[in-house]
């Protein structure tokens, strides 16, 4: 058993996040599912995002079904439930509808194959997870997609594995630095508990907390707005962006003298859409970025093969990346052979 299986079992939830299609996220999920001790742990699996097709529409590569083992719980859409290739017992049918129907929860009674497509909003994902924990599930696994379209974020899980690879960049040093940037974002520290309690319910807009502790809304609807102004904010202590954080906004905060000491808070790393350069500039200038929810990054997996067939050297990649991020890096496909 590779060491990270042990570590996974220390948390009640795990998300597996691919930085790009074909970076080996599904292989990683399979790898984990094959090795978890189902005999004495109750495991539930779902997927966020609506990538429902058996063939990936973008790259035309085969999108594999997941093999579930007897006893595992899973959440998927009605449509995919009807196409299941295993015997399973229905536990729940949710009220929420996705484009593929309602989300159903079931337990596998035989080993077999299923396509996963679960809750697509932040609220429904959170509800599904707490429902699973109510059923005494020990570990909830989320097949996580990074998507601007879906509000469901993998950062709600306690732990995380990132899948990266040649599909993300075919140039090794670019791949290493781009991946390291994401790892930096995943590892961003949490803001204070008080801030989390107050800001977590705010799902849109830009807000700030002043030195007296008052929460104020900034009239800009999102941080994407072009003409955002920070007037009368000399008193600002915490600046919270509920939606996407983009370059333009970060630059404005950095260049604003009155915001020198401010703590910039975002929901979680999936909401940060800034270039590594802009992010570095901000940190160098003394800026602080904090998050409302974060997962403990357990490991990074790599797929050195790109969909176009280009292959990077697996060992070199693992070593370089591991050095850059100070975390274990695995090539699961190679290790599996």
């Amino acid at each position: 058993m590779l060491p990270f299986i042990d570590e996974i079992l220390r948390y009640d939830s795990l998300s597996i996040v691919g930085l790009e299609k074909n970076t080996g996220k599904t292989e990683c999920l399979k790898y984990v599912l094959d090795r978890l001790p189902v005999q004495h742990k109750r495991i539930a699996v779902t997927s966020i995002g609506i990538d429902g097709e058996t063939v990936d529409q973008v790259t035309r590569t085969q999108k594999p079904e997941i093999v579930l083992r007897e006893g595992m719980y899973f959440g998927t859409s009605e449509m995919h439930y009807r196409q299941r290739r295993l015997v399973s017992e229905l536990i729940d049918v949710s009220d929420e509808t996705t484009s593929l129907g309602r989300v159903v929860t079931a337990r596998a009674l035989t080993t077999g194959k299923i396509l996963l497509s679960g809750p697509s909003s932040a609220t429904s994902l959170r509800r599904w997870m707490s429902e699973m924990h109510r059923l005494d599930i020990d570990l909830v696994i989320i097949d996580g997609a990074l998507s601007r379209m879906s509000s469901a974020s993998p950062a709600v899980s306690q732990s995380m594995i990132l899948a990266t690879g040649a599909a993300y960049s075919a140039n090794m040093s670019t791949l290493v630095s781009k991946t390291a940037h994401v790892v930096d974002l995943v590892n961003l520290p949490l803001t204070s508990e008080d801030n989390i309690r107050r800001l977590l319910p705010l799902e849109k807009g830009v807000w700030f907390i002043d030195k007296q502790g008052n929460l104020n809304s900034l009239d800009a609807v999102t941080s994407l707005s072009k003409d955002i102004h920070f007037e009368g904010m000399e008193n600002c202590e915490t600046l919270y962006v509920a939606g996407a954080l983009v370059d333009g906004f970060l630059e404005k905060v950095r260049k604003n003298r009155s915001l020198k000491q401010v703590e910039l808070v975002v929901r979680d790393f999936t909401k940060i859409f800034v270039t590594p350069q802009q992010f570095r500039l901000f940190i160098k200038a003394g800026g602080r970025v904090r998050v409302l929810q974060r997962s403990k990054l357990i490991a990074v997996t790599v797929n050195p093969t790109s969909p176009s067939g280009y292959v990077l050297d697996s060992d070199t990649l693992c070593n370089k990346l591991s050095e850059a991020i100070q975390l274990p890096v695995y090539d699961l496909i190679k290790n599996n052979q």
Partner: protein, 455 residues
């Protein structure tokens, strides 16, 4: 008329709905689709049921209330499935699961209510046979699959699957044919229960709604109304929950009012900011709450049942519809007049009609409106700032501005004379003194030159 048609009424009905803590989305849809009750008997019966639930939440331990609420949370909208069952379609696993889930839920709720002397308050059909069909192993849990015990051959195939995973696809294919046979069988066994299942679903929605209404009554201090049979509606210490809540956030209290009206027109006059519009809003709200069977925001209420309720208020949205505020208002009041000739019991609440036009024509329109509506089978409550001859109308006046505070109580007066307090009130609001002083001077000049000026 259904509740959903009046939910956006400017009287503030939406607030009451938003404050209703329903457990299931299905109950909310059912409630919004429910028709307005227009008969004494129907309303009395609905309050009798609500009385039982109010009593239930008062006397029964919170643990049981929470258990019931949690159970009702699981109520799903399975109308499509029920329809399929009625049409003798073969249900799939998800639909069979839904039926089983509902049957167990209904049985559990029935048992819980029966234990607390609530049997028969809302009739829940017995679905034990449905459960037996879908729970061949007697597990009594609300999960479902095509159980091994339905078919020995299926059981055999599945154990082969576990032993020979390599042949799974082939075995699954064989099993799926057997499963389909079981589903066909189950569906035809269940078909005779379709109506009972449908009734159970509606009963659970009704229980959810009654529980939520009863809780809301306790939380907001609402009362059970009496049904008036003499056409007179009477409220003691009536309040508007939304306005009350808004005032409370600013640390202020709502002053409840007493009011009654009968079949003769009632005219309310009073100073600006005297709460006349709030009174009309509250009367409208109370009437709607009454005819949809909710608790009434008052210490005591005795309400007459109406066929139709009209609330005419200056409507800002009329501009969006391309009508001037005057045109929109005229059309609304026109609808009241037309309805008054249709031989129906009406309640019309009209806020300052013709306020946006000149006082000469405005006063004429209001007086004439009183004449047109007099003697019709209707209750009319109207506010105005115009000095008009009340005729047969009963006149109520807001006590008004005294010693720097507003007294919102209504007192009965003998004529429709309107108070002249606008300038005092404007002054107390800190409005520009040059403006107010000039206005006073003009009044004095007019008063000096007019013999019959009223004080």
């Amino acid at each position: 008329m259904q509740l959903k048609n009046v939910i956006e009424s400017p009287c503030g009905l939406r607030f009451m709905l938003d404050e209703l803590e329903l457990q299931s989305g299905f109950a909310r849809r059912w409630l919004l689709d429910s028709p307005m009750m227009t008969s004494d008997g129907e309303i009395a019966a609905s309050y009798a049921v609500l009385h039982r639930f109010a009593d239930f939440i008062d006397r029964v331990d919170n643990i049981h209330i929470n258990t019931l609420s949690n159970k009702l949370c699981g109520l799903k909208d399975i109308r499509t499935t029920i329809k399929n069952l009625k049409h003798s379609s073969v249900l799939d696993d998800i639909e069979l699961f839904e039926v089983k889930h509902l049957a167990i839920l209904a049985t559990d709720v029935k048992k819980l209510l029966d234990q607390h002397q609530m049997d028969g308050v809302v009739e829940i059909p017995a679905l034990d046979e449905v459960i037996t069909i879908l729970d061949p192993d007697g597990m009594k849990i609300a999960t479902f699959y095509i159980y091994d015990s339905y078919c020995a051959q299926l059981k055999d195939l599945r154990s082969q699957m576990r032993q020979h995973p390599d042949q799974q696809d082939d075995l699954l294919l064989q099993a799926s044919e057997l499963e389909e046979g079981v589903r066909r069988d189950l569906s035809s066994q269940l078909a005779p229960f379709a109506t009972a299942i449908e009734q159970a679903q509606l009963a659970l929605a009704r229980i959810d709604v009654c529980m939520a209404k009863a809780m809301q009554m306790r939380r907001m201090g609402l009362t059970f109304p009496d049904i008036s049979t003499d056409g007179v509606s009477r409220y003691e210490a009536m309040f508007h929950p939304q306005v009350k809540a808004a005032l409370a956030t600013r640390g202020r209290a709502f002053q409840p009012v007493n009011i009654s009206y009968g079949m003769e027109p009632t005219l309310i006059t009073g100073a600006n900011m005297g709460g006349k519009t709030v009174v009309l809003k509250t009367l409208t709200l109370c009437q709607l709450l009454f005819q949809f069977g909710f608790g009434i925001p008052a210490a005591q209420a005795r309400i007459a049942v109406k066929d139709e309720i009209y609330f005419c208020i200056g409507d800002e949205q009329s501009v969006e519809k391309g009508l001037s505020s005057f045109a929109a208002e005229m059309k609304n009041i026109d609808a009241v007049i037309k309805a008054s000739r249709m031989n129906k019991k009406l309640l019309a609440l009209i806020d300052e009609p013709a306020r946006t036009t000149n006082p000469t024509e405005g006063a004429a329109l209001v007086s004439a409106l009183l004449d047109v509506l007099a003697g019709k089978d209707m209750s009319l409550v109207m506010t105005t700032h115009y000095d008009i001859e009340p005729g047969n109308a009963r006149c109520l006046r807001v006590k008004g501005f005294e010693n720097g505070t507003m007294d919102y109580q209504l007192v009965e007066v003998q004529d429709g004379e309107v108070p002249h307090e606008a300038l005092n009130i404007a002054q107390s609001l800190g409005i520009d003194s040059e403006w107010i002083t000039l206005a006073r001077k003009r009044l004095d000049v007019t008063a000096a030159s007019t013999v019959d000026y009223k004080h």
